[in-house]
Amino acid sequence: MFTLHRFHGGLHLDAHKEDSSLAPLATAPVPPRLIFPLQQRGGQNAQSVVQVGDHVRKGQVIARGDGPMNPPIHASSSGIVSAIEPRPLPHPSGLTDLAIVIDTDGEDLAPAPEERPDYGQLAPEELRRVIFEAGIVGLGGAAFSTAVKTDPGHRPIDTLILNGAECEPYITCDDSLLRNFPREVLEGARILMRVLGVERCLLGVEDDMPEAIRALRETREAGDYSNIDIVTVPALYPSGGEKQLIRILTGREVPTRGIPADAGVICQNVGTAAAVYRAVGRGEPLIERIVTVTGKGIKNPGNWLTRIGTPIADLVRYSGGYSGVAERLILGGPMMGISLPSDALPLVKAANCVLVTGRGETTGPKQALPCIRCGACAEACPINLLPQQLYWYSRADNLQRAEEYQLADCIECGCCDYVCPSHIPLVQYFRAAKSELVAKQRERTKADHARERFEARQARKEREKQERAEAAQRKKTALAKPDTSEIQDAIARAKARKRPPESAPTTDAAPDESPPAQEPAEN
C-alpha cells in the first residue's frame, strides 16, 4: 500500500538496542548541580539574563540568543545561580566557553502552568513564536532551531516527515519516547502540520521497534490522526539520516546544497514533535529529554527522562555507574557520535545518547594500510560517492578534484570508514578536506570582494576623471561658445551693416571658419 524507496548503499549493523530498550523508561533525579553552556550550537552564543546569586525557578529563561537561530535556554530546575564561568564544552576538543551553573535546591519550583486549551486555533506565526520561546531545537542531534526550520519561506511544502528511524546502533531514546508518549508525538505532528500548512505527515519508524510501532498505531486509531501515516522502514543505517529518510518515504531527493524544503518536505525528529506539543499544548519549555545510557561500560543500561544541563557523570551514576571494562565515552551513536575526554560535561539539548563502550566493542588505534580500491566504501556510501577517489584527492591535496567528485555532499555517516578493509580513517580525511574547501571558498569570496572593491574604486576614479574632463570641456566650450558666436554674429552684423546687400554671399564663409562653435553640439 505504501511504496518505500531505496537509497544507495547503507549498512546492516548490529543494533545492540536491547541493552537499553529492555529497561523501562525512568525519570532521572534532579542533580545537585546543573550546567548550561551558553554555546548551544557551533559558534552561536546566547547571553546570560541572570546573575550569580539569582534564584531561578524551573522553566525560567536564563539565557537568550541574538536571533531566531538561537532560541532561549531555560533553567531545568530551581536553584541558585552559583557561577557564570568558562566550562569545558561537550566537544572532543576540550574547548571551554561560558556556562551558567545552577546549584539546585531540590524544590523543583515551577511557575504555575499556562493553560492553553485552544492551542489548535493559534495562527502559524503565533505557534512559531511559542516554539521559539520554549527553546525548542531539533532533538535528533543537530539542535537546529525548530522555529527557523518550520518557516520554509517561499518554498512550497506538502509533507511533514517525522523521523523516528533511530538508525544508529545502541540508541533507543526515540524508541522509548514513542512507546511512552505516542500521543504527544502525534499531537506535536498535528501542531507542526498546522504551522507548515500541510495536509500530510509521514512518520518513519525502523522495523526493529515493534512496540513503538504498536503504540503509535493504537494511538493513531484512537484519536483523530488520519492524515498521519505511520510507516515502517527497514532497519538500515543511515535511514535515519534526513536525506535518506526523505528518499525512503517520498522518493524525492534533497538537491545538493539545498535543504529538505527544496524537495517540498520538512523533517523533524519525533522528540522535537513531542517537545512542540508540550510547549504549545501545555506551555512547558524544553527542559528535559530522554537520554539513552548504554554500552558495555555501563552497569545498568537504560533510558532516562533527564533534565537538560545534567552532568554526564550524574546520569551514569543513576545507571549504576561504570562497569569494569569502560573504555570510551561517546555522546551520540557509535557511527557519528563524538568521543568525550571527561564525564564532567553537561547534557545539552541535542544529547540523545551516552554510550560507554567496553574493551573490544569499539576500534582500537587502527593501523591504516594502503587503499586497495576494493570499492567497499563506494558500495556502502548512502550518497553514492566514490570515497576511494575522494580519499586519493584529499590526501594529494587536490581539492579541486575532490570538489568535482562532490566531496561537499558527504554526510560523514561513517559507512565508508567502517567497511574499509585497509582501516583508512576516511571520514577524518573528508572532514579535513571539507573544512579546507570551506576555508578556500571563504578566502575566494574575500578575494572576490576585495577585487570587486578594487575594481569599483578604479571605475569610480576613472569615472571621476572622465567627469572632471567633461566638466572642464563643458566649461571650456561654455566659455568659448557664447564668445565666438556672439563675436561672429557681431562681426556678421557689422559686416552686413557696412556692405551693400548684393555682396552677402561672401559673408557665408565666415561662420564656417569657426569650428569651435560647432563642437559642443557633437559632444
Partner: protein, 345 residues
C-alpha cells in the same frame, strides 16, 4: 572519570585487507585441487616456490624502501600474487621460470610502483607476460591431463622435472610435455584442419579441453563463493564471461568450422581464473559499478580476439594488462550519480 578520545566511527571494523586476501586464496582451493588432480603435484611445487620467493622479495624490497616489513608482509598480498602466478604456470615449468616470474611480478610489477595499492598493472600478470614473451617454449609445455597420461608424476618425479629437468626413468624431459588444447587448436587451424577433425582429437573432452574443463569448473566454484561472500564485485566476471560467451557464440554460429564452441572458450584456458581471480584484482581494475561491467566486457572481448586471431594461445594476461591501462579512464567516465544531483534516478 577521564577517557581517551577518538574520531567516529567508533565501531570496530569487521573487514581487513589481510582477511580478504586469505579468503581469495582459500577460494582458489577447488581450482588448485582440480589442477592437482589433472596435472599432478607440480602445481604444489610451483606454489611453494613462488610463495617463498615472493615473501623474500617483498621483505627485501620493503626493507630497501624503508617500510615496515612486518606490516607489509602480513597483508598477504604477496602470497596471493605468487599463488595467481604459480597456478598459471605449466606444472613442470623449470624452477627458474617460477623464480624469475615471481621476482619480476613482486619487484617490478608491484614494489617499484610503490607497493600494495599503487601498482597500475596486475603484478601476477606482469610476471606471466614477461615469462610468456621471454620463454614461450617452456611456458606452453604442459603435462597431459590425467585421462591421457600413461602414468602421472608423483611429487618426487615432479620435483626432479622442475629442478633437474629430468623425466622419470631417465626419459627425456621434453617427452613429458604436451601442448594445451588452446595451443593445439591454434596450430591445427593453422594447418587447415576443420573444427570437427580437431575436436575429435584426444585433447578434447565433453565440455571443453580435457582436464582444463575441470580446472575451470574448480575456479568457477571458488569464484561463485567469492561472489556470495561479497569479496568481489559481480560486474567484472559477469562482463568478462558475457562478452566472451557472446562473441564466441556469434562466431561459432557463423562459422562452426573455424571457431570452437562458446563452452570451449568459457571452460578453456584461464577463463574462470581470469574472470574471478585476476580481472577482479581491485587495485588495478575499474572501481565504479558501470565501469566494472565495461572493464570486464572489454577483457572478455580481448581474450576472444587474442585467442582467435592473436599470436598467443591464451589472451587473459594480455587482455587484463591492456585494460589495466584503461581502468582510470573508464572510471572517469562512469561516475555514478550522486544523491541530490540532477540525472536519472
Amino acid at each position: 572519570m577521564r577517557f581517551n578520545t577518538a574520531p567516529a566511527p567508533h565501531l570496530a571494523p569487521t573487514a581487513s585487507t589481510r582477511r580478504i586476501m586469505q579468503w581469495v586464496l582459500l577460494a582458489m582451493a577447488p581450482g588448485v585441487a582440480a589442477q592437482l588432480w589433472q596435472f599432478g603435484p607440480g602445481v604444489l611445487i610451483n606454489l611453494a616456490l613462488a610463495i617463498a620467493i615472493a615473501l623474500l622479495a617483498e621483505s627485501a624490497m620493503l626493507r630497501l624502501r624503508a617500510r615496515h616489513s612486518r606490516a607489509g608482509l602480513s597483508d598477504w598480498s604477496a602470497v596471493l600474487t605468487a599463488a595467481l602466478l604459480a597456478v598459471s604456470l605449466p606444472p613442470i615449468a623449470p624452477w627458474w621460470i617460477t623464480v624469475f616470474g615471481t621476482l619480476f611480478a613482486v619487484v617490478i610489477g608491484k614494489q617499484l610502483y610503490g607497493g600494495l595499492g599503487y601498482n597500475p598493472f596486475n603484478p601476477a600478470m606482469v610476471g606471466y607476460a614477461v615469462l610468456l614473451i621471454s620463454f614461450p617454449k617452456a611456458m606452453t609445455a604442459w603435462l597431459p591431463p590425467t585421462d591421457l597420461a600413461a602414468t602421472q608424476l608423483n611429487l618426487l618425479e615432479a620435483w626432479n622435472a622442475i629442478v633437474h629437468r629430468a623425466g622419470p626413468d631417465g626419459s627425456s624431459f621434453d617427452a613429458l610435455a604436451m601442448a594445451t588444447p588452446l595451443d593445439t587448436l591454434k596450430t591445427q587451424l593453422g594447418l587447415g584442419r576443420t573444427m570437427d577433425e580437431i575436436q575429435s582429437g584426444a585433447l578434447f573432452g565433453a565440455l571443453a579441453g580435457k582436464g582444463w574443463q575441470w580446472v575451470n569448473l574448480g575456479y568457477l566454484a571458488g569464484g561463485l563463493w567469492l561472489l556470495r561472500r561479497g569479496l568481489i564485485a559481480w560486474q567484472i566476471p559477469a562482463g568478462f564471461l558475457a562478452a566472451l560467451g557472446a562473441l564466441s557464440l556469434g562466431f561459432f554460429l557463423l562459422e562452426p568450422e573455424t571457431y570452437p564452441t562458446p563452452l570451449f572458450h568459457l571452460l578453456g584456458g584461464a577463463t574462470m581464473l581470469g574472470a574471478f581471480f585476476i580481472a577482479t584484482d581491485p587495485v588495478t581494475a575499474s572501481t565504479t559499478p558501470k565501469g566494472r561491467l565495461i572493464y570486464g566486457a572489454l577483457i572478455g572481448s580481448l581474450v576472444f580476439v587474442i585467442r582467435s586471431w592473436g599470436g598467443y594461445p591464451d589472451g587473459v594476461a594480455f587482455a587484463v594488462l591492456l585494460l589495466n591501462l584503461a581502468a582510470p579512464t573508464i572510471d572517469h567516465y562512469t561516475r555514478p550519480r550522486v544523491y541530490g544531483h540532477p540525472g536519472c534516478t
